[in-house]
């Protein structure tokens, strides 16, 4: 028996405690605790094999004089007895962890904080990277429960074990296979995987989380951006911080590490298995991490993805493109590129910081990889002005050759309405006129970006299309209407388009606001 710094009396229980030796144990304890009533008592049960009710009686006795009592290192048999008799309600009982080896076990998943191995047919263990992981395990269990309550299918660990110098949590995972494994072994199931993957992602992003239950990913991302300031030109660093700061707060759930190794198919049921990165925030942060998993991490070394996911870079790229298109509900390449670019801003910032913190600058390959990502990030920061995205808005480079994407974008919005073909053609022509104008004159001779917003609402149904650009202030409506009595070769061609637009639309308006040209077309259909 000894006393530690806090004045707690510690006492080791060994072997069996039953009616034969319980009286002796009791008198030893009582003798030791004489005059120390109320002092904390720690009973080390790591060498205790069995305790009978006579032994339990001794614990109860001690508890009466010294209520602050802890029993540590309790094996599972003894724990069961303590639990059954209600001792776990009366005092702090800390379980001993059984030891599990993952040597030779199949790695089935890998997350930000740990690796998941299959230990037998029905069970997997998640081994945490952090050797002092008990707090992480408690956190993950808590958020997994929260997710389950909120309707996200996930496995919840039922035991904590010791694995080498670290800890692991054990989950039941019967007859399950990760989506990465399916993609690697059955390439023909790609589209099915994309569909299930996106369905689950939408479910996560559609889940409203009660305030304060999960961390805000934007705060975390601001940390990455602040870190990056030291590694980027001043203006670029400032812009990165400002971009992230401008993302609105969002109380919907995001997973935070949503890749195909963390998604399991168990008897036709799709399950999430790695929940410790759960947070709330805008979906752009999720898309950033998804981009990194499937594309970003293997941009320098194309073999990286093979080592991590088990499938090749081509599969990763295809999966990313298909998943993004399915998630956004569009095949419009300009729309996909717009959102991908925003995701990459956050994604690169995260990857560069991660690599630098892990000694990436110490090796030649590491430096080359960081340079590659940094180049991409700087290029993106030059043109991306906003990280949010909106299904009703298309942001793209104002180039004449991008016109088909603008028209496709508008058409896809009109598809869901009963727009008469004539009106649709008039809208298309008007949009062409305005977009070509912007592409030709707004930034000339430089290049710039434009945004096209489409809204269909009201009664009678009205289509409103708004064009925004940051080029030179210019109101196309101010120019005089062309003289249509003149012969063709004497007329100003552009002017004719504007006239046509004014005639076919119900309303055409222009304003210059916050450094932007804003032109609005309205058409009742």
């Amino acid at each position: 028996m000894s006393e530690n710094g806090t004045g707690a009396v510690t006492f080791a229980l060994t072997g069996r405690v039953d009616s034969l030796n319980a009286p002796e144990l009791e008198s030893q304890l009582m003798e030791r605790l004489a005059g120390r009533a109320g002092a904390p008592v720690v009973l080390d049960a790591s060498e205790l094999q069995y305790i009978s009710s006579a032994g339990l009686r001794v614990l109860l006795r001690v508890k009466k004089t010294n209520p602050d009592m802890t029993v540590t290192g309790v094996n599972s048999d003894v724990y069961e007895v303590l639990d059954m008799t209600g001792f776990t309600e009366l005092m702090t009982v800390e379980k001993a962890y059984r030891t599990v080896s993952v040597e030779g076990c199949e790695e089935i998943g890998r997350g930000a904080n740990g690796t998941i191995y299959r230990i037998d047919r029905d069970n997997v263990v998640k081994v945490y990277n952090n050797p002092d992981a008990l707090e992480d395990i408690r956190h993950e269990r808590e958020v997994a429960r929260l997710a389950l309550v909120l309707g996200i299918p996930t496995a919840i660990s039922y035991d904590v074990v010791k694995v080498g110098d670290s800890y692991g949590s054990v989950f039941e995972l019967l007859n399950a296979s990760s989506f990465s494994k399916i993609l690697a072994e059955q390439p023909d199931r790609m589209d099915w995987c994309v569909k299930e993957y996106v369905e689950m992602l939408r479910k996560i992003h559609g889940t409203l989380v009660p305030k304060g239950k999960l961390p805000d990913v934007r705060i975390t991302a601001l940390g990455w951006a602040e870190f990056m300031r030291d590694w980027l030109p001043e203006k670029a660093g400032e812009k990165l911080v400002a971009l992230i700061r401008a993302v609105p707060h969002d109380d919907h759930m995001i997973h935070g590490d949503y890749h195909t190794k963390n998604l399991e198919l168990q008897n036709d049921e799709v399950l999430l298995i790695d929940m410790d990165t759960l947070a709330v925030g805008h979906p752009i942060f999720e898309l950033a991490s998804i981009y990194n998993s499937f594309v970003g991490f293997s941009e320098y070394d194309h073999e990286t993805i093979k080592r991590f996911q088990g499938f090749d870079r081509e599969t990763g790229l295809t999966f990313w493109k298909k998943a993004l298109a399915a998630y956004l509900g569009t095949t419009n390449e300009m729309k996909l590129r717009e959102v991908e670019d925003k995701a990459r801003v956050v994604g690169y910032a995260r990857m560069i910081r991660r690599s630098i913190r892990r000694g990436g600058l110490d090796t030649e390959d590491g430096r080359a990889e960081i340079d590659l990502w940094k180049g991409e990030l700087l290029e993106l920061l030059d043109r991306v002005d906003d990280l949010t995205f909106d299904p009703d808005e298309l942001e793209l480079e104002a180039l004449v050759e991008n016109l088909p994407w603008v028209q496709e974008f508008i058409d896809s919005h009109l598809e869901s309405t009963d727009c008469p073909p004539k009106a649709q053609m008039q809208i298309s022509l008007a949009a062409e006129e305005i977009f070509v104008n912007i592409a030709s004159y707004a930034y000339a001779p430089e290049k710039g970006r434009a945004r096209v917003r489409v809204e269909v609402a009201g009664d009678p149904v009205t289509v409103t299309i708004t064009f925004l650009d940051r080029g030179v202030p210019y109101d196309p409506l101010q120019r005089e209407d062309p003289d249509v009595t003149l012969s063709a070769d004497q007329r100003d061609i552009g002017g004719l388009g504007i006239l046509l637009t004014k005639k076919t639309m119900d309303d055409v308006a222009y304003e210059y606001k916050d450094g932007q040209n804003i032109l609005t077309l309205k058409k009742k259909i």
């Binding site: 034969l20 009710s53 009686r57 109860l60 006795r61």
Partner: protein, 295 residues
Amino acid sequence: METPVKFDLHMHTTVSDGTDAPERMPERAREAGLRLFAVTDHDAVKGCRILRDALTEADPAFLTGVEFSCKDEQGKYHILGYGYDPETEPIQRVVRTGHGFRMKKVRARLDFLKTEFGFTFPEEEIAALFMLDNPGKPHIGNMMVKYGYAPSKEKAITEYINKVRFRSEYVRPEEAIRGILGSGGIPVLAHPAFGSGDELIVGQEMDARLKRLTAMGLQGVEAFYSGFTPKIIRQMLDFAEQYGLYVTAGSDYHGTNKLIPLGDTGLDDAMPWPDGLHRFLEEVRTRTMYGGKIG
């Protein structure tokens, strides 16, 4: 509702393995603030007969008691009996049977010590041993220390006496229950969750046990006991309600042989009394009571 009465219905005297003589118990009970007590020696009613004659109006109320060690094919049980008339034949027959088995056991142990280790004792020591109401391992152990065969009673028991293995004979639970009922007493299962003392019987196993014992005539359970946690007490109270049983409370005080204070029954003043306990105390008021009044 009247103020809860402090009471303890489970304690041992020198008639079995306690360290206080029966005559000392009223004083002990008074010191512990008890208004009602019952002496429950193992397989013996002698202490109650002594007390019945010694008690006065100034003493706490006294209820006759006994604790029979029983066994059948399903396990071991300690069955308490309360409020019986110690002068009647049914309970005395159970005591005689139990005493006979106990004497056979002492005889077997002494034979074993002699043949196995060559330990012998003077005739008069052995005679004195058989004169005891309740001789057992501690008495043999003490004798071995006295004659230099073992350094302590504990060592004598663990290293020599416990080496002997023989089939012990026990009173059957239905015999004990019938005897208690036959002498006007109330049969109650002692420390139910601890089985015969050092087991752990809860849940379905407890349920099966109560089903059998109530069919034999068991009427109560010792739901409050010094070694029980609140969880066990809750479970026992649920069983009592389910089976419509009386509820009792006892410490299992053994004097200085065990570190259990008299009156420590697990029933604290703040706790509301279950219906089964109210009914039990009402019932025993009509039985043979000695000493002063309960409340």
